[in-house]
């Protein structure tokens, strides 16, 4: 394959920027780990929703939601490059490490946003496309540009962005929003603070260094621990509601209740953690369990729905 060896003379003799960014660097801009959670919860919304969707159209819907979520991740990395460079957890991201320029990330994020929303609208329906567009706007503008640096409740309100995917999945199948899809939204919405504040507890110094008002820095460890427990209890309660409302079985309800007890148990462990504990093992355990918890709850919902669809009896 011929590769161009030389560029034309640059008028004015200015410095030329030649990117060394690989496709992998651009993929990293999409926050693949967050994306996997989004794909999974969106799939749950799609599976649990009443009605059917052509499998191929369903796959495109999931792809669009994933790309839209990735686009908002890229826009977040574009805007937050200054603070990402300071925090140990984020310093190796493509922009602070110099592999991708901020303008490239911005263009990448905007392009993917437009494509994902347009394709979802054209192929599936415009309500789900509208919800996806709102999710991207909410994460990139409301959370990243506004809330994140201005209020310790940033993650509580901003968590809505991560909670929309199951609602979008539901809207892809039904073409509407209902109380059931709001419950699916609330599961992730109420889960996010406990999950993120557990991380913020053991990464407190990082957030302090960049002036991001996370709850542990602003209100202190003790308040954060109580708030974590409150949200864990709320999450455990809402996760059982699908069973109460009748769009999941009693078996699912018991499964979700057991998981919820685990979530609360780990949160109590964090509450009991001594003030100033540097190792913060209970917070790390809660953070790890919270990820397993959310995957398990949505897996349970999907499995329950499949069992009901095939008429199996537990």
């Amino acid at each position: 394959m011929a590769v161009i060896e030389h560029h034309e003379t640059i008028p004015g003799g200015g410095e030329v920027y030649l990117s060394e960014a690989s496709p992998r660097d651009f993929f990293e801009l999409l926050k693949p780990r967050v994306m996997s959670l989004v794909v999974f919860t969106a799939l749950a919304g799609l599976v649990v929703a009443p009605g059917t969707i052509n499998p191929f159209i369903g796959a495109i819907a999931i792809l669009c939601i994933a790309v839209g979520a990735g686009a908002s991740g890229a826009l977040n990395m574009w805007y937050d490059a200054d603070i990402d460079a300071v925090m140990t957890r984020t310093a190796k991201r493509p922009i602070p490490s110099g592999r991708i320029r901020p303008q490239e990330a911005l263009a990448f994020g905007l392009t993917l946003s437009a494509f994902s929303v347009a394709i979802l609208g054209l192929v599936v329906n415009w309500l789900s496309a509208g919800l996806l567009a709102f999710t991207i706007f909410f994460y990139a503008v409301i959370y990243t540009m506004w809330l994140k640096r201005s209020t310790p409740q940033n993650i509580v309100i901003g968590g809505a962005a991560g909670a929309f995917p199951p609602m979008i999945g539901w809207a892809c199948v039904t073409g509407g929003v209902s109380i059931e899809s709001v419950v699916l939204f609330l599961i992730t919405f109420l889960w996010t603070p406990a999950h993120f504040w557990a991380l913020a507890l053991f990464k407190m110094r990082d957030y302090d260094a960049v002036g991001v008002p996370m709850l542990p820095n602003v209100a202190g460890e003790a308040t954060t621990k109580v708030q974590i427990l409150v949200y864990a209890v709320l999450t455990a309660a809402i996760a059982v509601v699908p069973s109460v409302l009748g769009f999941a079985s009693l078996g699912y309800g018991l499964f979700a209740a057991a998981l919820g007890l685990g979530f609360v148990w780990y949160s109590v462990g964090v509450l009991r953690m001594p003030e100033g504990d540097r190792a913060m093992v209970p917070a790390k355990k809660l953070f790890a369990f919270s990820i397993v918890y959310l995957f398990a709850v949505f897996s349970g919902l999907m499995l329950d729905h499949l069992i009901a669809s095939f008429g199996w009896v537990l």
């Binding site: 394959m1 590769v3 161009i4 060896e5 030389h6 560029h7 034309e8 003379t9 640059i10 003799g13 030329v16 030649l18 990117s19 060394e20 960014a21 690989s22 496709p23 651009f26 052509n54 499998p55 191929f56 159209i57 495109i60 394709i119 192929v123």
Partner: protein, 46 residues
Amino acid sequence: METVTLTESQKKARRGRNIALGAVLLGLVVLFYIVTLVKFSGGMVG
């Protein structure tokens, strides 16, 4: 004439980006083709 010579890593990165972009474009062509089939068959395909 003043020229810019690409380093090996720049060439490799650009080649990788070109291939990825080509794959994405090809994927979109296939996607729209199958979507057309699905829509024209009234959602019965698959």
